[in-house]
């Protein structure tokens, strides 16, 4: 059997996502690229919101006076204005900032705690493991949105500034997602514990901490990207849900898609489509983009699911 030597790609192409892109072909590649493009578009919009957005998120007048309420799309207001007299395009663009901050806060809060607990629980085992698993199972079926409402009342008494809204959504997501990270990492740790290389580390005399972090942790992160993207999209949906139910962020503190959807509810009956369609589409697209990235990374990472170029004929 002849083995062709592969030149090692540069560091850039070994980073996650980029390395996956390099390995992918066909439909999987298409899905990944679509996901990257959609998510990338939102990230760019969030970073450059002050430059891209024509108006501020709480701006309802300019030098020519008030924008007017529920104005249809026009050259001044490309996507029209809302019932509160805000520019829809500007609010959708500023809304990406809020959405992505809740994603970052939620992921940071849950990933470290979940991974650390899973690692300790899976590797050490014993009564600690049993207690943690029972707690995780108990939290698992908890409805996120209910928890988020309670959180927002606890944090800000139901009144909503930018950070209390973001935090209540993020914390409720954290509570539900810690058990998910916990379970995945724990399952991997339990599997790896019996692997010969972990035993060989034990025979060498490595301390338990060293075995957990250098040997077990580094090999158990394979499925994390998928949960990470699920975590991110769940965070966005919860934030939007909170806003929709009226527990979200006040329009003067930040732009938030869920709140805009809530206010657009009454417009639908009177044929005003632009106030609801654009924020709604933004939510769907961002969640879709993140899920596409996560799903295709998961498939490409697994050699059994990864598609390869079909050979035309025997080499």
């Amino acid at each position: 059997m002849s083995v062709t030597t592969v030149r090692k790609p540069s560091l850039l192409w070994r980073l996650p996502i980029l390395s996956h892109l390099r390995q992918s072909v066909g439909v999987q590649r298409g899905m990944l690229i679509a996901g990257i493009l959609i998510s990338g578009m939102f990230i760019v919009a969030a970073i450059f919101a002050p430059l891209i957005a024509p108006y501020g998120f709480a701006q309802s007048r300019d030098e020519n006076g008030l924008f007017g309420k529920q104005m249809p799309p026009s050259p001044e207001h490309l996507w029209g204005t809302t019932v509160g007299g805000f520019d829809v395009l500007s609010r959708v663009i500023w809304g990406t900032q809020t959405a992505l901050s809740v994603v970052i806060v939620a992921v940071v809060l849950s990933i470290f705690a979940g991974v650390a607990l899973g690692l300790v629980s899976g590797y050490l085992g014993g009564w600690l493991d049993r207690v943690l698993v029972v707690i995780a199972d108990a939290i698992y079926p908890f409805p996120t949105l209910l928890l988020a409402i309670v959180m927002s009342i606890v944090i800000s008494g139901g009144r909503s500034s930018l950070w209390s809204g973001i935090l209540s959504a993020a914390i409720s997501i954290t509570v539900v997602f810690i058990p998910q990270y916990f379970r995945v990492v724990r399952a991997e740790a339990v599997r790896l514990k019996a692997e010969a290389f972990v035993e060989s580390a034990r025979v060498v005399g490595s301390s338990t901490g060293r075995i957990m972090f250098t040997h077990v942790l580094r090999n158990s992160t394979r499925t994390l990207p998928l949960i990470l993207t699920l975590n991110a999209s769940e965070a966005i949906l919860t934030l939007a849900g909170l806003g929709f139910l009226g527990f979200g962020i006040a329009p003067t503190s930040a732009a938030e898609w869920g709140y805009d959807l809530n206010r657009a509810l009454s417009d639908t009956a009177s044929g005003i489509w632009w106030t609801g369609v654009f924020p709604g589409a933004a939510i769907v697209l961002l969640v879709l983009g993140l899920t596409l990235v996560g799903e295709s990374i998961n498939d490409i990472s697994d050699p059994k699911l990864r598609t390869r170029k079909r050979l035309r004929k025997a080499a």
């Binding site: 059997m1 002849s2 083995v3 062709t4 592969v6 390995q23 692997e195 010969a196 290389f197 035993e199 060989s200 580390a201 034990r202 025979v203 060498v204 005399g205 490595s206 301390s207 060293r210 250098t214 040997h215 580094r218 090999n219 050699p303 990864r306 390869r308 170029k309 079909r310 050979l311 035309r312 004929k313 025997a314 080499a315």
Partner: protein, 554 residues
């Protein structure tokens, strides 16, 4: 006689991440009815791919060229429906691992009937009657009762008999047996080989036997095809091949097969040169008992039962036994991976029974361990240099992997690996290279004691020979005491000063190679010796008779 199988200029390529890989290249061979053709070669030689092509079992990533004529059908070009009809009736397969080839939730009778029902309408009763009949013919006792048993109620050898029965029940003209005895113990292997021989003689079935074990080839094959890197390098009838191999590779392959008696001279002279009587004791076991706890309310499983032995400083003790004999458990107990439940085990002067993990840690610097499977005993995310540096870092001999590098380079050199290999990842090395790196890691701290658990059983024969040589060299150079665990008497014979034979958790025989291998006292040792096939068809036939006689005695 007509040919059952004709393969003409077969080529198979696989699509991989690294591009196309040619696994089989221009293979041409044929099998007559009632003939056993052995395909031998090391891993990666394309022998299994060739076998799978015969049944049309290649994965979707494979592209095939050439012609595989089975009866009147060309397997390469026929459609799925025809292929399904051919499988079972024209050609059947016997897999390597019988416990994986049987579905655990159905009775064996059901699984045998499954094949019958796939190829024609048959009443339940008739199918069962046929299943009972075929089980009787493959030598399962009380087939009327055992037809309703589940796979886990059979032993490993019996499971393989059931798998063979499943292959035979539709009376195929050809059976493809892919390493049918590799997962079995030597004594069981001999029985399965007998059964396959009966398949040929009584059922007149042609057999394609895929194996890497030259002893098995000598025992069973009529004709032999040697494959190397996807090509056939030599093809001859068995007697000619073993007596007069033509190709360099065949000669090398035959030369590297270890056989009993090879090491005796060596070890005797070594034993003369030094006596271990006045040496300090490295390991002493007295009535050692190791139990695995059972489920709630059930008694535990006693893996090791009252075993006593000693290993002196600088001595190599070979521990031999079949699977389940407790040999690996003893090795793990010495390394502190399994708790001792009774008796006494003293390692380097410290009593291990009841010793805490913390207490054991100070001992660890003086114990090296080599694992069976080099593929899984390295952390896949660390480079070889980092893996070998691990013991040095853990025991404070070096600050980090970079500081340990000079010593790591020395160690790699000691095991005959180029320094540059330190920067590679484990999966970039071959099995033999990995096992050498594993040896380097084990001797990194210059241990007083080395435990090697089947270090060569996952390797090809030609590679195994090199690793064993290296082991002997290192042992001479560093003078550590060693416990060498293996199921292969011939391998142990090469290395060990003394040999201990374990049978069902008990030590049945212990002595020097000359004592145990030349004049075995215990009947189990005798059977074990007689079961070991030798790479010589004529001598193997004699040994077969000898084994038959021994079985009659039991």
């Amino acid at each position: 006689m007509p040919n059952v199988l004709d393969i003409n200029n077969l080529g198979v390529s696989f699509a991989t991440d690294a591009g196309a890989v040619r696994a089989v290249d221009g293979v041409t061979l044929s099998v007559k009815a009632g003939e056993v053709l052995a395909i031998v070669g090391e891993s990666g030689s394309g022998k299994t791919v060739t076998a799978k092509t015969i049944l049309g079992l290649l994965p979707e990533t494979a592209v095939t060229s050439g012609v595989v004529m089975l009866g009147a059908n060309d397997i390469v070009s026929v459609g799925k429906d025809t292929l399904r009809k051919i499988r079972g009736t024209d050609v059947a397969m016997v897999f390597q691992e019988p416990s994986l080839a049987l579905n655990p939730v159905f009775t064996v009778g059901w699984q045998i009937a499954e094949g019958l029902r796939a190829h024609g309408r048959l009443s339940k009763k008739a199918a069962k009657a046929k299943a009972v009949d075929i089980l009787r013919r493959v030598g399962i006792p009380e087939p009327e009762k055992r037809v309703d048993y589940y796979p886990h109620q059979f032993s490993g050898g019996q499971k393989q008999r059931v798998v063979i029965a499943m292959a035979l029940v539709l009376d195929p003209e050809l059976i493809v047996a892919d390493e049918p005895t590799t997962a079995l113990d030597v004594t069981v292997q001999a029985e399965i080989l007998d059964l396959l021989r009966r398949c040929r003689d009584e059922f007149n079935t042609a057999i394609v036997l895929i194996t890497h074990n030259m002893g098995v080839v000598a025992d069973l094959a009529d004709r032999v095809v040697v494959m190397y890197e996807g090509k056939i390098v030599e093809s001859a009838d068995a007697t000619t091949l073993f007596e007069n191999p033509k190709h360099e590779y065949t000669k090398k392959l035959l030369g590297s097969v270890p056989f009993i008696g090879q090491g005796t001279e060596d070890t005797t002279s070594r034993a003369m040169a030094r006596s271990f009587a006045d040496h300090e004791v490295a390991v002493a076991a007295k009535r050692l008992v190791i139990e695995y706890p059972g489920r709630l309310g059930r008694p535990g499983f006693r893996a090791v039962d009252g075993v006593s032995f000693t290993i002196a400083q600088g001595e190599v003790l070979g521990l031999v036994g079949e699977s389940g004999s407790g040999k690996t458990t003893i090795g793990r107990a010495i390394a502190g991976l399994t708790a001792v439940s009774g008796g006494s085990l003293s390692v380097l002067g410290t009593e291990v029974r009841g010793l805490s993990e913390r207490g054991f840690r100070s001992l660890r610097a003086d114990i090296g361990f080599v694992f069976q499977d080099p593929a899984s005993s390295f952390n896949p995310r660390l480079t070889i240099a980092e893996c070998v540096a691990e013991p040095l870092i853990v025991h404070g001999r070096a600050g980090d992997a970079a500081a340990a590098r000079p010593r790591v380079d020395e160690l790699l050199e000691a095991v005959q690996l180029p320094k540059a290999f330190g920067d590679r990842f484990p999966h970039e090395l071959s099995g033999g290279q990995r096992q050498r790196a594993s040896l380097a890691r084990a001797i990194a701290l210059q241990p007083k004691l080395l435990v090697a658990d089947e270090p060569t059983s996952a390797l090809d024969v030609s590679v195994q020979a090199r690793v064993l040589e290296l082991f002997a060299e290192l042992q001479r150079e560093f003078g550590f005491a060693a416990l060498f665990i293996s199921h292969d008497l011939a391998v142990v014979d090469l290395l060990a000063d003394r040999i201990a034979v374990l049978y069902r958790g008990e030590l049945v025989e212990e002595g020097t190679g000359a004592q145990v291998l030349v004049n075995p006292r215990h009947p189990y040792t005798r059977r074990l010796l007689a079961s070991l096939p030798v790479p010589n068809p004529a001598r193997q036939a004699e040994r077969r008779e000898e084994l038959r006689r021994l079985r009659g005695l039991d």
